[in-house]
Every structure is written in C-alpha cells, then in structure tokens.
Amino acid sequence: MSRNVAIIGASAIPVGRHQTADDAALQTLEHEIMTRLVVEAVRDAGVDKQDIQSLVFTLPRPYTRQKYFHTFLMGQLRLSCRGNVMEVMGNGMTAALAFDQACNDIMLGRSNVSLALGINMESAVSAAEHMMSSMRTTGDVDFHTSAGFTPIAWYAMDAMRYMHEHGATREQLGSVAVKNRHHASLNPLAQYRKPITLEEVVGQRPIVEPLGLYDVPPRGDGAACLVLASEDVAKELGRPYVLVRGRGFCHDGTHQISDVPNDMIAFTSARQAAATAYEQAGLSPADIDVAELYAPCTIVEVLVSEALGLVPSGQGARAAFEGETRLGGRIPISTSGGLTSRGHPAYVTSLYNYVELAEQLRGRAGERQVANARFGIATGELGNYNAALIHVLEAKP
C-alpha cells in the first residue's frame, strides 16, 4: 500500500504577542483563534467538514487554561472523526511530529483529509519565569540544569566551537539575522518586520555569548493549521498542491551532549535524516530551491544548512554573509524570516515552516516568492539537533 500525501490548505495568525495577562479584563481565548483558523484553512483547501477524518494537534503550553484542548476543539467544531484525534509533544519537534503523524494517518488509510494544527501561547509569561520550565527540557535536570544551562546556551556553545574551528566571525553569523529580517519584512505573518543592519545585530546586548539579542529567537505566540490530503483528493480538487516527496528521521541516541566525544557541530542526526529524505524523494541537495529550517539561532541555521548539504561544511556562515542564502541568492533559506524574525512560538514553529513552503510551492508567496520554486525542504529538531525530522516537498502546479 502506498498513498502519497499532499498539502492542500494552510492558515496562520501573524506571530506576535497575543497572550493576555491574567488580570486583563478581556482575554484572548485560544479556541476562538483556533476555530477560525480551521475554517480558513479548510476553505483554502476546498474540502468539506465531513471529509476531515483525522486531526493531530500540537500540545498547548501549560499556560493555556483549557486542558484537553484538542478534544475541546472537536466539540467547538462538532467534528466527528473515525481516523485519529490526538495531541503530540516532542519539545521543539512538536509541530513537525504533528505534521508527520497527520501524514501517517493518510498513508495508513485512516483518513483522506487530515489536519495538523495547534496554538502556542506564552508571551505574557516573562522569559526568566518561562526558562524555569525550559531549562528542564535540555540536558540532565540534575547534572546540567543545576549548573544553570538554558536551551539556547547549547547553541551558543555550538557557535563558539564553530568560530574556533572555521574562523567564522560574529559578523558572518549576524548576517543570517539581517538576511532573515529582510525576508520577514516581506512576510505578513512575521513578528519583526523592520529591517535591521549588521551593525545593529553585532551591537546588541549579549544573551548567551557569543550570541546577542538578534542572534536568538524572540518569544511570541502563534497558531496555524495545515490541511493534508491523499494525492487522489488533491488531484480531484484541480488546484495547485504540495506533494510530500520524502521523509527522514534520526535520533542520535544522545540527549543534548554525548559523553563520548563527537563532532558536536556536525549535527549528524540532521545529516542522516536528510540523507533518508533525499533518497526517498530521489533528489539531492542541489535540487532544493527553498529551505525552511528549524533554526532557533543564527548559528543553528548555518549548521543545519551545512548538514543538509545546501552549503559545504564549514562554509555556511560565509555563504550567508555573501548572500547565497538570501532571496535571489543561490539557495534561499528561511524565506519566512526564520525563527529569529518570523518568530518562534516553539510548539507550532514547524507548522509555520510548512505554511511558508505551502505558500512558496503554490506560487503564492508574493514579494518573497522564490522564482520557479519546485522543491522545498523543512526540518524539525529537538535538543541540540540530537534528533531531526525532515520533509522534502514538491510543487504540483
């Protein structure tokens, strides 16, 4: 049995500060956002309510008051399903897993139309308080958290090592942030859209050295919904769609750090997952036209672009600095603005990456359209890319 999966619809709210403080007279309610997005995405897809037989939600943040959000939403929409209804969680990989599981439901024949959707609300909680939780997600809570490690501290150590090994400069890393802000300036869904200069990036206060404020992701809220369908359904609709051509996953068997010394910045799980995805798609890195990477910091985009073979190893920062990864460049990366400027509502971040590829590969990305974009790649990850989940997508005009 082999059934191809297509993306046929998408919707999202602009990433930003949507969560209300507990004492606000009027509250932003997650389900009101989510029900509107479902209706919008399903209209975009051109299918009917009763066609939807599976929904895979990302787990909401603990700050969302409504528990069992996924089944609550089924009631809000009076959706009855025979395929699957579930919430998934995988740290930074959460949204990529939601997309992947929705694909599985179609491939297994459990549904012909599935939704991958979710909402992440956290911006009303201060960074220092939020980190009290997030510091427990990376590393060993007894042996690492006790030393004060935070999630992005690990990426900072990647940056320090990368600069040491390859002679990369702060300016080269910072150019990723400048490039992504330019892309975000063209994306109505982006959180930060005012162009910035390299001087401004390098001049920001340090957050985790050598990374400054603009090298790391802002905090924000977001929600998105993808409509997936069997390719047969997509063809019958007679509109452009996006085919899932390849999928690769790898967990490298370590959590954050390997006690057996390895090349920490090689991101071997991303290399392995990409190789699997390319092979399944029958493609090579040179075939890719646009990439939407799960890259919370400037350094991570550099390392993932190398791990996926989009740029040579050790050359990612230089390539970004020289404009190769900018819109109009050899291989545009993070045309949405990436996690540093489009925004990073972590549990739904990958949904936004698929939304961007759905726009690019259906020729609907407006000013940031990559000309003749045919093949796209998206990544999800957890830890310090200890695990990677990668999808290769194809435009079907």
Binding site: A127, A128, E129, M131, M132, S134, M135, G139, D140, V141, D142, F143, H144, T145, S146, A147, G148, F149, T150, A153, A156, M157, D158, A159, M160, R161, H164, R205, P206, I207, V208, E209, P210, Q256, I257, S258, D259, V260, P261, N262, M264
Partner: protein, 141 residues
C-alpha cells in the same frame, strides 16, 4: 587525589535530586572525590553516572575515578538566566573533554589571568555551596 574546593557562601540555586544510586556520586564529590559509574562488563565509564550501562546495558556497575583535568571543547557566558539563577548571571558554562575520554558539561569558574578559550586546559573543581557540592571546571596553569 582529590579535587580543589571553592567555597561559596550561598545555597545552590537549583540543587540536584539524590537517588540511592546518585548519592554515591554527590557524597564523594562533597569530599573532593571525582568518580563516575563504570561498566564491569564492557569496561566503559559514563557521565553523568548511570545504573545501567548505556553502551552494553549491563547492570553490573562499579565506581571508578574520572580524570581531574581536561580541555575546554566549548563555552558560553549566560546573561539571560532563569529566575533562580538571575542573581548569579552572567555566569560561564562549558563543555569539557576530560583527559580520560569523557565529555561533560558544567559550570566554569573564571580566572582574570586566564580568559576562557576553546582548547585551553582546565581542571575540575568542587563548588562547595552551603547546602552541598556542584562540580565545575576552571582554566588550569
């Protein structure tokens, strides 16, 4: 051989939990002894210490010494800290490759005369807080 101790007049911001198994590590560390679990079947050490060998899954474990010296593989200085660490920030953390082949991540103690740099030799030290120990590394001569 015991590790040098740095006394700190404060409680640990986020103390580790103890288990029947890990208390062996933490009590030894409090006395300056630097050791971890070693698999009797395959002979491999692992860190943090584990009651099951991650390499061969044997449960026959003994405690053996770790190297007190190593090399700084990478480091960072954390300025944006979680609420409980705010009073200590900025503080440095890093990844150390011990001379006997174990890689670990820990707090770094800075020295004015030896700025942190990738590749520099470091020595492990015990941070002796009021409520118990933590391990750290600092630049070595």
């Amino acid at each position: 051989m015991t590790l040098a101790t740095v006394a700190i007049d404060a409680d640990r911001a986020y103390p580790p939990r103890l288990s029947d198994f890990t208390q062996t590590f933490w009590s030894a560390l409090g006395q300056g002894r630097w050791q971890t679990s070693c698999c009797k079947a395959c002979g491999k050490q692992t860190f943090p210490p584990k009651p099951v060998c991650p390499h061969c899954w044997s449960t026959e474990i003994e405690w053996t010494e770790l190297s007190p010296r190593g090399t700084l593989y990478s480091w960072t200085r954390i300025h944006a800290a979680p609420a409980v660490f705010a009073a200590e920030s900025p503080y440095a953390c890093g990844i150390v490759d011990l001379d006997n082949g174990i890689r670990l991540a820990c707090r770094l103690v800075e020295r004015d005369d030896r700025p942190l740099a990738v590749g520099q030799p470091v020595e492990m030290v015990v941070l002796q807080y009021r409520d118990g120990p933590l391990f750290a590394a600092r630049p070595a001569d």
